[in-house]
Symmetry: D2
Subunit: 378 residues, 4 copies
């Protein structure tokens, strides 16, 4: 690999890096993506693909406006990516059922319901008979069910691959198996030393998910991004058991996929990069799933895996400028909203890199410098 | 499994059985599919998915009108299946390039070209510069290239699964791991003894691909269907190398699939049910592929497999009535045109079963009794 | 495949067919094995490999003497197969712990203990402290633990493959993907029509496991062999959690394998050939395993599968002559003792085929004609 | 993960790190192994397992005495590891055939033959008829064949796993998915910052294979270790085609493995961490293999993979002290002799760490400081 020069180098080839590459390449920015393994080999392909812009929030958060806006982009994104790459991202708009299993969860679900009513976003409280008629296979003894019509879903691996391939169609370069070891600034130019040679770029975007913090330490920045392992299962049913995504307050969810499949997710084990699918993790998911949809017991276990999601101390992603460098940008820490937020994050970072105003969206809550500890480690 | 009674029992859950089940179930016929392994676990999922209604023929054949008619159905089939099942069958209409590598092949290709011109179906002879501009990665030293705009392609596994799931959506039952051991007629009712109990049906359709002959012997019918093993490879390229399917006269073909994949097929080993992918088979395919598209050498080998396709003595499928039984129908022996012919075969058999007239299509050339040897073995 | 003539044709290439082929080929009998899929592709490779000659019995049974005798052969078999094929069959002699979880199981376990004491075979009742010192990771609240020092274990897939390869080393032929469709006798010679041609042999052995009954019906014999699906799991632990096999009275067992693996088996679903691993099956196994060894919760789930074991009405295998044919022999229905009984079954059938006396073992309890219903179906 | 303190921390859990851990733990040294992925997930498991102490050398090299000595350890190592872990490392002593395909290779092979005769190590030049009788399936038109009786082979994945498990049996700790980011010395104690917490140790061993150089840069050391990708295939034959390993002068080799398998290796692509198996790589290996053993064409392709081997500028591994630190040791760059040299490297490094004399072996040629460029980068 020769000593190449690009407008922008993106570190990380997951769904966030891919969406940014797509936006930049589309705007004729010469872009390279440096991925230490393969395209979307980590959390992006492990994700369930829920677009939970409402289901993820029960009270005010600066993330809500981003989430709603990003969710609204998927119809157009699906079409554009299909056009450019032939890949169907599996965008399904059959809504989400947020459900309560215990009395306590019921209360909390009602709070969430009130919150969204107040926000003026469509939510619906389902009676037992409404649930039975909509989803006859769901456990009828649930303590509460809220229907969120607009929280759709996509296939996360297809979306991630499609962003990558679409960016290539617009001219972006992708280097897999390329780990960035060091970054040096020299006269406004950044030199990235990798395990496969040196890359030079005018600007750099760090989109390394749970691995971002490790790299950023080399730039004198201690970022509060930490890994949260999530185990998932895929099962195959003969006939579709559910139409909408089922999301229990306890964190377990069932996402109906094509061909009668149901994705069951996810456990949450913080502070580990270990990707082993454990006996206790699988037991937990299978028990919870059968609690929600008893007849899933007859389904076939097809696959299991774990993904390492990037969480932050306050639960908000980092989207913004590196405090010590002029043209280094950070987009990391999307936790389990990475798929949902990817289209908008791509646009936001592309705008920042190009020096455009941020438009109507306020992204200061996502600034890297919002914490005291997110400062120079030197 | 209880002693159940259906209108129609279909033996074989591949793309042909699935398409027939889909048509019947859609017409409110109570249908069961008996599959000895899993849905589309054999040739249907192994196929490359080319819709070679023109590329497969170089002279007159009774199959041509079926092939053209079936090919024309795919646009509507793709939409209908997506609607019913959410599955995208990967229908791509970027045409096919039939190519000649040797002088001899060139002559034969020119004959084929003339044939289709005479038939009034669109074909185009490409000059070297036209080829270079359309497909810059194709070997420029080819001896001849004919472009067939209408010979598209689909994803064979997705099509097969979608037919099955769509038939279920209309109420068809599917029993996997169910092998039919014997058939008995009793007062116009057929009893199928399986390894998992007895099924009764008013009519039976045999759609067992290369395995049909084995079953039909139990009905006193010796059918000239024999297996032809075909080995295939799937490779991954960083950027799409070809747009159209590339089909060499020597039998090797490259079919561009989603996400930068290229399917390379297929060897032809007759008279074996062996599904092993051999060293010599893979060597042959890889050498031929690099001859056609030299830069495919850098692609990643992702997968290899073999499928057992059902060939017949005269190369025509069997579509018609069992000579000894009133309501037993046969749809087998589609060789490498099973994907292409599946939509129409579904309609034809459903019409036969329902006693409808055949419409404008003459299917007598596909009658089971067309050979002397296809008669009673008793 | 030409029209070949062998001394003996064995139908079924599992551990039983392989052991018989090994014995016959070793004695210079020209042997062919006809396997409809691949070598040991079904129950033989799915098995846990326990040699439970004592653990499987709690009262008198004609099978006990065979089981003890066959178990005693493994030391020598392991050595011989390693010598001939290089394959280590993983023979481990660390004993088995049969455990009771409930009061009821405790009583039943005590009965079993008394039975073996009376039989004069080594068994030992472990106190809580003995258990704790032998197996510190086993749940200390178990209601009873019996140690069977001699019930070792092997790797079932390795044993099955080693028998096959050892038989080949002695000259046996193996044809995979070869399904026998029909059998005809002509002047003392048997013609087996297969999907890949005709094979002639002076004698035939049916060793098709759960599939034997289907084939034997073609010979006018209705055998009470039926399939019992068993689901299994393989997990990986960092450090070995158990030394001995752990076998709960409720049917769940944990077999320690090389490299820190533990095989967890098995569910029992009778009368199905379905090989799907189900949500409820996996849940059951994982819950039971954690009950026995709580710290297995941290292990990694590596693999899951199902095998179809051949059970008979009275729980005894069929080992003997076909009632209607002179030189057709049957060895089927070993249920979950197939691995254990394979060495001896090979010797017994080889002796029968060669017309040798049976020696000291009485095999009349395993005769095919022991049931009223195992007679001519014609 | 708490702030733990160990005697020795080993960075890298491949066959070298595992062998060192095994030796240290056996000597009661409190040892931890930090592996960024899984045990032996890279080159160690990708290797063919040839013990080519003679085949790898054709002229004098300081490595020869190490290679011969390490090869001689395998008999005892195999037994010890089997005892401790139950794992059979597949040690086979059927020798190696080094073969020449061209006239040029023949000359070079003769030189190698003379060299080893002079060295007094057993080699044998085989005549065509000797070859034909020893290995009837080998191409009889080869230009020259040298038999090296003592160059055996093992199963590389089994050896690597067995070292790891044996070290654990002696008390060593292993942390997978643990990447070391930084090293700090403080009062003679080393603090290793990892992605999963901090580890403290009195001494550190760097055994990271091709990844060692990346880590060592953080210690101010630029080491000339670079990656060389090697693609491999595994094929399955019905009957064993070869007894000895076949090693062509052109770099292609065929290693007979258990159960009729043959491992075909290996391509050599320097300076890439890319692990993709390419169309051209597979084509090359398959063509070469069929040149050596024509009947391998009928074998089944079972698996393909690539490993990243650590090569150095002068082809010698680094075994010795870190120039800037008192108790940091390096064992890296074994290229394709890592399996062969692993037992001895374990002993050598354990001796160094413990401050023992080096015995009779001179390891100064492997000193880290032997090159001008292997010095401080600061």
């Amino acid at each position: 690999m020769a000593h190449n020069h690009y407008d922008v180098a993106i570190i990380g080839g997951g769904v966030i890096g891919g969406s940014i590459a797509f936006q930049l390449a589309k705007r004729n920015v010469r872009t390279i993506v440096l991925e230490k393994e393969r395209i979307a080999s980590q959390a992006s392909s492990a994700a369930a693909g829920m677009l939970g812009a409402q289901s993820e929030f029960a009270s005010d958060s600066p993330l809500i406006s981003l989430a709603l806006k990003s969710r609204a982009m998927f119809g157009q994104v699906a079409e554009e990516l299909k056009q450019l790459t032939g890949i169907d991202i599996g965008y399904v708009q059959k809504g989400m059922l947020k459900v309560a299993v215990t009395e306590e969860e019921q209360k909390s679900l009602q709070e969430q319901y009130k919150f969204w009513r107040k926000m003026g976003q469509p939510v619906q409280w389902l009676s037992a008979s409404e649930l039975a008629s909509l989803e006859p296979n769901v456990n009828p003894t649930l303590k509460g069910v809220m229907y969120i019509a607009e929280d759709g879903q996509v296939s996360a691996p297809h979306l991630s691959l499609a962003f990558a391939k679409a960016s290539m169609a617009y001219g972006a370069q992708w280097h897999e198996f390329t780990e960035v070891i060091d970054i040096k600034e020299q006269g406004g130019l950044y030199e990235l030393r990798t395990n496969q040679g040196v890359i030079a770029a005018d600007a750099v975007v760090v989109a390394g998910g749970a691995w971002s913090a490790l790299f950023l330490e080399k730039t004198g920045l201690s970022l509060s991004v930490y890994p949260v392992k999530g185990e998932c299962l895929l099962v195959k049913t003969e006939k579709p058991l559910i139409q909408a995504t089922l999301f229990a307050k306890n964190g377990c969810y069932l996402v109906p996929k094509r061909g009668g499949r149901i994705l069951i997710g996810a456990t949450s084990t913080p502070h580990t990069f270990d990707q082993k699918v454990t006996v206790q993790g699988v037991t937990h998911l299978l028990e919870k799933a059968q609690e929600l949809v008893p007849s899933i017991g007859g389904a076939e276990l097809e696959k299991s895996w774990a993904g390492i999601r990037p969480q932050t101390k306050d639960g908000l992603p980092y989207i913004g400028k590196h405090p010590h460098y002029q043209n280094v940008w950070i987009a990391s820490g999307h936790y389990r909203n990475g798929i949902l937020l990817s289209p908008l994050t791509g646009v936001l970072i592309a705008d920042l890199v190009e020096g455009k105003g941020r438009g109507e969206l306020d992204i200061t809550p996502f600034a890297v410098t919002r914490h005291h500890d997110a400062i120079s480690t030197v």
